[in-house]
């Protein structure tokens, strides 16, 4: 991550659970200590109030700082919830459990969306999705999540590498214009610039020095609900483009909120440190020695699952990211509902059970054996 100094100073009040500069492990209780060290502010001094994504955007704009908010709104709000708990009062802010619009008739949606994007052709049913192909243009919609992907197939990850001559902000401007064209079904006002990626090609003879070029750029926008970030794989609109800004494709895993299942406030939340302990106990039950990891990112927001998953309800969750102390082993990522009341938590868990069942079926269909 490129750390803009001004941006870091502005956001340091609510910084990461473990800062990028932390040199020692910070698992469990250590995380709390390192959070204080990295921000210079003890949890008890943080304002116990959720901070809206719009406030982050406004501050970034005022400071002419990095436009992409990355995971800062989620990590900052995690720290604010922790601060509230350390001060013995509920965090202030509007929360809720929300039902999403249904995926609906995929073939009908696909035909309508294809027409909107100028893609003509017949709906072809695939294993987990339906698609329409029109020469080099293709659109597909997933049956479980309603995820939409549209591509110029001859360009998608096939671009000729070039010198990367444009700035992040130029690509963001191009992506924003494209998003307004392809995002007619999305809650556009609730999307904010999230991350940017540059795709690289390299070629070399043998083990010689490679020629390296950039061939594609992607800008991701992240969804907010109640002005709070969506966390997890979904809730993203991604615009892919060539290095000179021509459209290559887009994908989103976003459905609008249809109704409120339950209005909540901060008193509904479980203690973030208790949630962390719950996650670490879950990992330990799987045989993972959490002492060999350090927590590097702790998030609070509405969890949205990725393109493969059925999901009808969105609820507040905590997300925990760990890196191995040896610097080699895999990262660990775990999410847990942030709800204290078992009956509320059950709403989120019931919604997740369909995915669990599908995954269990997959596991059973392929039994390991030698």
């Amino acid at each position: 991550m490129k750390w803009n100094k001004k941006w870091w100073m502005l956001t340091s009040v609510v910084g990461l659970a473990c800062s990028p500069m932390a040199t020692s492990g910070c698992s469990g209780e250590d995380v709390r200590e390192n959070a204080s060290e990295s921000t210079g502010v003890s949890p008890s001094a943080l304002t116990p109030e959720l901070q809206g994504v719009s406030a982050f955007r406004a501050r970034a704009a005022a400071a002419a700082a990095q436009s992409f908010l990355r995971d800062e709104p989620a990590t900052a709000n995690f720290e604010r919830v922790r601060a509230a708990f350390s001060q013995g009062r509920p965090v202030a802010g509007k929360l809720g459990i929300y039902e999403l619009e249904p995926v609906g008739d995929v073939a009908a949606t696909l035909q309508r969306r294809a027409a909107e994007l100028g893609i003509r052709g017949e709906v072809v049913k695939k294993l987990n999705h339906a698609s329409i192909k029109d020469g080099v243009n293709e659109i597909r919609i997933g049956e479980r999540s309603g995820a939409e992907r549209a591509l110029v197939t001859e360009l998608f990850h096939q671009g000729t590498g070039t010198a990367d001559s444009r700035s992040d902000d130029e690509y963001l401007a191009i992506a924003s214009r494209r998003a307004s064209v392809v995002g007619s079904t999305l809650p556009m006002a609730d999307l904010y610039p999230y991350k940017i990626r540059r795709y690289k090609n390299a070629v070399a003879e043998g083990e010689g020095e490679p020629e390296v070029t950039t061939y594609q750029v992607a800008v991701a926008f992240n969804q907010s609900i109640d002005d709070l970030p969506v966390i997890g794989s979904g809730g993203k609109l991604v615009i892919h483009m060539t290095t000179d800004g021509q459209p290559v494709g887009h994908e989103f895993v976003i459905r609008k909120v249809q109704s409120t299942v339950k209005e909540l406030d901060g008193s509904a939340l479980t203690d973030p440190d208790a949630a962390r302990a719950e996650v670490e106990a879950r990992l330990a039950r799987s045989g993972i020695d959490v002492r060999q990891y350090r927590a590097v990112r702790s998030e609070f927001g509405y969890q949205r699952l990725g393109r493969d998953n059925t999901q009808n309800v969105m609820a507040p969750h905590y997300g925990f990211y760990y890196e191995a102390l040896d610097g080699v082993s895999k990262k660990l990522v775990e999410y847990v509902p942030a709800l204290k009341d078992p009956s509320l938590r059950a709403i989120a868990e019931r919604d997740a059970s369909e995915n669990e069942g599908r995954k269990a079926q997959r596991r059973q269909s392929v039994t390991p054996r030698r």
């Binding site: 269909s365 392929v366 390991p368």
Partner: protein, 275 residues
Amino acid sequence: MLFALAAPFLASGTANALEVGGEAMTSWSGCDCSAGSLKYTDDQISYLISEMQDLGHKKSFFYTNQSTYSMDLIEDSLPNGYDAGYADGVDLFALSSHGGAPTDSKSKQTFSTPMCKSGSISDSSSCHFDANNSRMGEAAGPGQSQYATPHPGQARWWVFFTCYSVHTKPAEQWGQTLANGGDAVLGYRGTSADSWTTDEVGEDLADAVFDDGDTLKGGWFWAAEDWAVDDVASMVASGKTRDLAIYRRDKAVANWERRASDSHHGWFAWAWHEG
């Protein structure tokens, strides 16, 4: 240029069911190698194989933990190897586990992963697989490589759901592996996640490449693209010339013809993302 390169496609409808094999490590208990336990690696492989089966392809094997041997990935004509029955005995082989990119004795970057045991009767010394000892897809026939006997290779695509599997110097890691056969090695640059949210990357790869007809590169990058987790998918392919290596990296699809027995490659092309 393109018309001269367009030959590798098979005629529509001639593609047969592919053979798929996978191995995964969740625990090194009772193994000669040791490493920290993992939670979702077996899911990554089982979902990939399950999706391939749903698409009409055939599971050849799926081994986990104490059933995994480094010999499964080592070229059978090299000491302690028998990949012909395993990683090089299927069209698509995938491993989900830990991985590293250490520097070898020649100061080159390699890829290493801890399996459970060596599996070799003659030498049980190393349960670690080192990519220096791998050769994939070496076809038998005119001009064949030395590795095509006694057992030719079958593998076209290897997928390593591990950290550092296609890292910063893929030509050093996988050059010898792709020199005489195979289409591509797919993996990660830097670390990768063991997570409920990325356990379906293999399933998505199968969906994109083997159901939707995406290119191998496009399908892999799409499958692994998780903007929250920030894993960096990467891949490496090879060619006889610079342009052919680039073409094979960018355009390869599942129904391309196999490489000929005399197609020795000296150029390597790879891709990843930054940011």
